[in-house]
Structure formats: C-alpha cells, structure tokens
Symmetry: C2
Subunit: 199 residues, 2 copies
DNA sequence: GTTAACCTGGAACGATCGTTTCAAGATAGT
DNA sequence: ACTATCTTGAAACGATCGTTCCAGGTTAAC
C-alpha cells in the first residue's frame, strides 16, 4: 500500500517539546522546528497539523512523559513527608542542572504566556495542576496517618500550599535561582508542616 | 526651537505596559501598540527606540509603578504578620478581579517567557525578586520582634518561602484560580509561620 | 517673517511568519 | 511490472513582522 513515514513521530515530538518548553509558543517559529527536527514542512503539517495543534500535542506529550510519572511516584509513595521532600529535591535538581536546566516547567511557562489563551491548552494546564495537587494531597494524607504532621496541618490546604510553592520553584529556577537556596527554602516550608520538635 | 511632543509618553507607556503584561513580548506586535496607543510608528520609534527597548521601558515602568509601592508599604508596615496577610490579600484581589484580572504579574510572566533571555530584562527580574524578598523579610523581622513567629521560624528563610508563594499566586491566578481558594491557601501558609495556638 | 529644529502621518522596506501546493520518490498489494 | 497510496523535498503563497524613510506640518527663537 502506501509509503510509510521516514521518521519517528514520537522522537520528533520530543524535539519539538524541547523548543516550545524553552522558548514558548510565540517565540518558536516553524523554521526553528524544521531545522531542529530535521524533517520538512510537508511531513510536519501532514503529521501534526498546524503550529497550534503541534503545540497542544507537545504540551500533552510533556505532561504524559515528564510530569505524570513523577506525580504518580509521589502519590504512591508510602513514606509520607520524606516522599514530598524527595519530590522537591528531584524537581530542583531537574530545574537547575542537567539537560533542561533553567528551562523551568513547560506547564508553568504556558500559564504565564499567551499560550493559556487557547481553551484546549488551558484545559491541560488545569488538569495538570489538579494532578499535582492531588498527588501532593495523597502523600500528605499518608504523612498524617503516620503522625508526621503538626496538629494544625490539614492535608488538603497544605497540598495547595506546596503546589503553589512548586510553581514558584519552577519560575525562579528559570531566572537562575540557586539550587541550594531553593532547597533550603523548600526544606523550611516542609519543616513548618511537620510536628513541632518535641514541644 | 523644535516642535514639542503631541502626546504624553508616560500615558503611552501605561498602555504599552498593559499590552506586554497581558500578552508578553513575542505575542505583542508593533501594530497592536500603534492601534492601542493611537500614536504613530514614527513617534514610537523616536521616543522609545525599537520593540526590545520599548519592552524594557515598559517593564521598568511596571516595577516602579505597580510593584515597588506595594513592596515599600509592606516593608514599612509596623504590624508584622498582619501586614504580610494584607499584602497577600491585596495581591490576590488585584490578580483575580478588577481591570487587570487574570493578567498575572508582568515580572512573573517575563520569567516564564522568552523575555528573560535578554540580559537587561533579567537584571530587572532579579532586582524585583530581591525587593520582594527583602520587603517580606523586613515585615517578618518586625513580626519576630513582636513575638508573632513560631519558635522554629527564621525570618530570612520564611521570606524566601513567601516570595516563592507569591510567584505561585501570580501564576495560578492567570490560569483562572479561584480567589477564595488562593486566599485560603495563603492563610494556611501564614498560620504555619505563626506561634502554635497556645501549645 | 524667516529659519532651524523637531514631530507626525503614511508609505514602503526587506525579512520572516505560518501555511499551501505540487511534482518526484517510495512503498505494498495485485 | 504496474498501480494506487502515501510521503517527501522544495518552491512559493499572501500576510504580517519590526523597522526605516521622507515629505509636510508645527513650533519657538531670532
């Protein structure tokens, strides 16, 4: 029958994610994508549709590949507060060093940009925030069951606080915030939720 | 001598701030600016220079006009924790209702976008974060002197936490977060810093 | 009233934007 | 080998991008 694709769409999408993640939707041109992926305009449009659709696909790809697995691990971790601490450690490490250092989080970036004008994009952003909050909530419920939380700490609202904090980390890391400083800050916030030191 | 400007550059800059604030640098065209301000391309370029310089001027204008006064009020407030609470109340109100509802913070938005690539812009962003952190720190030092802080709360690191939290509020408000929910979350975080309830 | 200095309107610049088109090439079934 | 079907490369589309230029108008000092 027909000819078959001469490239791997998923691998191409990975490359596209990198571009949109780093530069955002408006600042990334089709030419950038063509140059970086190596495939040409025809294949791009035939496979993914236009730029907006390509961005949506890239955003979903990011969430499924980069965000969801980490959140799932957090939600299923049985250790309580140490799981939350480890989550933030990994987050700060990813944001400040390695291949994607200083890129921030593609979801956070999208919320701050004109990308969020698109309804489909907005839906993905809201869903991801809910996942983040729920994963944090699950870990905190575990922590509460293990007696790791202070008397005034309610898992639901504490999860909200930590979710906002994660967004703050994503943002500041892009602007070059020091990893140790971020770590110190997050640690302080977590200690605040825990039991007071043998009061 | 020469002819004089037929418009008020500061008023024009206010309009430009609105555009860049809402849509970011890349998604705002010169044509948008011409249409919205009503002034001509020639006047624009003669007064402000190119687009990049105009964005820088708008960002500085935003910081000086919208951000700095609020931070100054926070830093000089003698009430301690209530001052911090009021700061966040005002922040959430501005972010979720009124003329600039759902616009987020222009500084936060810039950090998440390609705008932060410019060194001059980055310098403004860093300076503003420092101002935010310092103002929060001053208010917390006051709170500590008044005995409003819990035994484990260090003003410096707590200021870092609250600064990150503010960025989180800025981000989530743009995506349509509920004002009451944000308020509840921030209140919980502040209670966490305060003295434990007559323990 | 003349002149020198500046501002404004609007056309126009080349470059790049996202997108489309089409001929040539490649594949799998008959 | 032939054909139907899809992919690929490259050129080209109109639109818009940020920017420049210049003629005409306006101002204030002499």
């Amino acid at each position: 029958m027909p000819d078959i694709k001469h490239f791997d769409p998923d691998a191409a999408l990975d490359t596209v994610v990198g571009l949109f993640w780093r530069q955002g939707l408006a600042a990334t041109g089709i030419q950038d994508i063509v140059s970086e992926t190596g495939l040409n305009r025809s294949s791009l449009y035939a496979t993914f549709g236009g730029k907006q659709e390509l961005y949506r696909a890239a955003l979903r790809h990011y969430v499924e590949q980069r965000s969801r697995p980490v959140l799932r691990r957090l939600a299923e971790d049985e250790r309580g507060l140490p799981a939350v601490a480890e989550f933030f450690d990994g987050l700060i490490r990813d944001r400040c060093s390695g291949a994607h250092a200083r890129w921030g989080c593609m979801v956070s970036n999208a919320q701050a940009g004109a990308e969020a004008g698109d309804a489909d994009v907005r839906a993905v952003l809201d869903a991801q925030h809910r996942e983040l909050r729920d994963a944090m909530h699950a870990a905190l419920v575990t922590a509460e069951a293990r007696g790791q939380l202070g008397p005034g700490t309610v898992p639901a609202t504490a999860a909200d606080v930590l979710a906002l904090l994660a967004h703050g980390v994503n943002l500041r890391s892009r602007a070059g915030a020091d990893a140790q400083e971020l770590s110190r800050t997050v640690t302080a916030a977590l200690e605040c939720l825990g039991s007071p030191p043998t009061a």
